[in-house]
Symmetry: C2
Subunit: 186 residues, 2 copies
Amino acid sequence: MPIYFVTSNKNKVREAEEILGKKLKNVKLDIPEIQSLNVEEVIKEKAKKAYCKIKNPVLLEDTGFYIESLNNFPGALIKWMLGTLGNQGICSILKDEKNRKVTVKTCFCLYNGRNFNIFTGSLKGTIPKTPKGETGFGWDPIFIPDGYEKSFAEMTSEEKNAISMRKIALEKLRQFLIAKARKRRR
Amino acid sequence: MPIYFVTSNKNKVREAEEILGKKLKNVKLDIPEIQSLNVEEVIKEKAKKAYCKIKNPVLLEDTGFYIESLNNFPGALIKWMLGTLGNQGICSILKDEKNRKVTVKTCFCLYNGRNFNIFTGSLKGTIPKTPKGETGFGWDPIFIPDGYEKSFAEMTSEEKNAISMRKIALEKLRQFLIAKARKRRR
């Protein structure tokens, strides 16, 4: 059965296909996300609505940005904070903050109308004093993964994708699909 | 036809009945809100879902908190910022900010399955350096309406309700209902 990856980002589809070693159907759906800090909650609600439209297994993805000194705000609401404050604005409100820790978390949800299968990848890192780098998108300029000196936006996409939270989550999904295929063959 | 006010807050029902001079049916529904900074957008989506369940005219309300120096973040997402940072945390991230301006906006939406009628009340004010006062709820301790020295949380509920953005919106709704009743009698 085909899997429908619900996203408007072609790069995400290509990346997922590469890691999964499997063709995905890509579909764009305009489904509003629910308010929550929790990416898993957001993505499960969205998966239900997507399944109602597609009537085939759907795959969805969401990423949250959890700033420790802000008590893990904004989480899944990061896009609204970025859209108003921008990376510079986020650095500004943390100007005097010593605790620069942040956790980024990607959640993939595979839903077949009965079961939710959730695959999560997390990375810990720090937020620099000012945005760094030009490549990538979203909060890439303000995320320096632990163990590295460079922000995501200062890495090549190969460097970034090799360690990203999205990669970790997709790797779990790949293992799940392999196990499932094995089971079916028995 | 009865109006169903969808809220889990009994005080809001009482306040609305007092201002409208009309009995409302109160109903609690667990409907997730969509992600948006815009209270009008949030409330219209919620009204559609509420109407699907109630099949009678529904009334819903949402309030946003638009901080000027944060480019009007967090708006309708204020409850998540309050839930993580709290009033003290919001004051902290604005510590060195000279622009203390904030606009609060309440939106009531009356939806009969065909037409949305939106009634909005806004108030401008400032955010103090630290939360002030004990009464009220939510962001009341960090909102000082223009022309006043006291925060909402330092006012009696009579003082607050006489000038609140909710009062302004409900007054518009009252005028709408009166005009509608008149039309019907002609």
